[in-house]
Subunit: 160 residues, 2 copies
């Protein structure tokens, strides 16, 4: 392979942020990204990190892909892993880095005897859906995602 | 009101587990619950809890409702709250406890200046969907929930 997969470190924060922005553009929601480089450094690389990452790095030391994940808690299964973002930059696709990052996250859960890894996929992203299904993951269409966004949260609480 | 809302404590673990089971029966998936009372005690009420709860308690000290939630990490919004379970036992519905528990979780996020509270709802649970929408929450049908379950995780990793 022409790349390695390793745990992300604080010096990768800018590369991770660049990939977050590129993913949001792909998802057609670029204006949704409010997070900053300092947020990522503090939230991901302090004593009690809120997420972990694997990154894909090429021979020149360029970080071109990442998987960002964290623990959630299922009242059915206990601790589970949520894969928040999986992203490989456009000109590095097709060399297996996405699958390698995905496998690293699944392996992380497997080694800890966790009973589930979960994530969300856009309904029009048929390539991703086909890939996930090919690995044994299940697209669970019986559930809707619900969001109380910042503006509505403020309105609800201030008028309750 | 004939009840109070307070933070859940370790002595509420059995009541919380009973509500988890009752909710799974309502969701028509009772066999999915693998968690035990010891899991809840350790995971929720140790030094580094994996979740928090609010409970509804009546004048006789009976805990008849609960909301279970935890932090997640959005690469768009930073720290957000995920509402995993919201449940009021069958014979205590209609007195406002569900809304009071829901409001307590939203208020928790509001007080911390968090930008989102999210959760999932079964697509056939039209009463819940109507309630959530009445409070300003958005049912985001553009995303599918994906799950790699224990058996498939094991197969994928062991055959990779």
């Amino acid at each position: 392979m022409d790349f390695i997969i390793r745990k992300g470190e604080i010096q990768d924060a800018q590369a991770i942020l660049d990939l977050i922005h590129e993913l949001a553009v792909f998802e057609k929601l670029p204006k949704e990204v409010e997070i900053t480089i300092d947020d990522l450094r503090i939230d991901g690389f302090s004593k009690t990190p809120k997420f972990e990452t694997f990154v894909a790095e090429d021979k020149e030391g360029y970080v071109f892909g990442m998987a960002l994940f964290y623990e959630r808690y299922s009242t059915w299964k206990g601790t589970v892993i949520h894969l928040e973002d999986l992203m490989v930059t456009q000109n590095k696709r097709g060399i297996g880095a996405g699958k390698a990052l995905y496998t690293a996250v699944l392996n992380y859960a497997y080694e800890r005897n966790l009973k589930r890894v979960c994530w969300e996929v856009l309904d029009w992203n048929s390539n991703a859906i086909a890939f996930y299904e090919s690995t044994g993951a299940v697209i669970d269409k019986g559930w809707y995602v619900v969001k109380m966004k910042e503006k509505n949260l403020k309105e609800f609480i201030e008028n309750k």
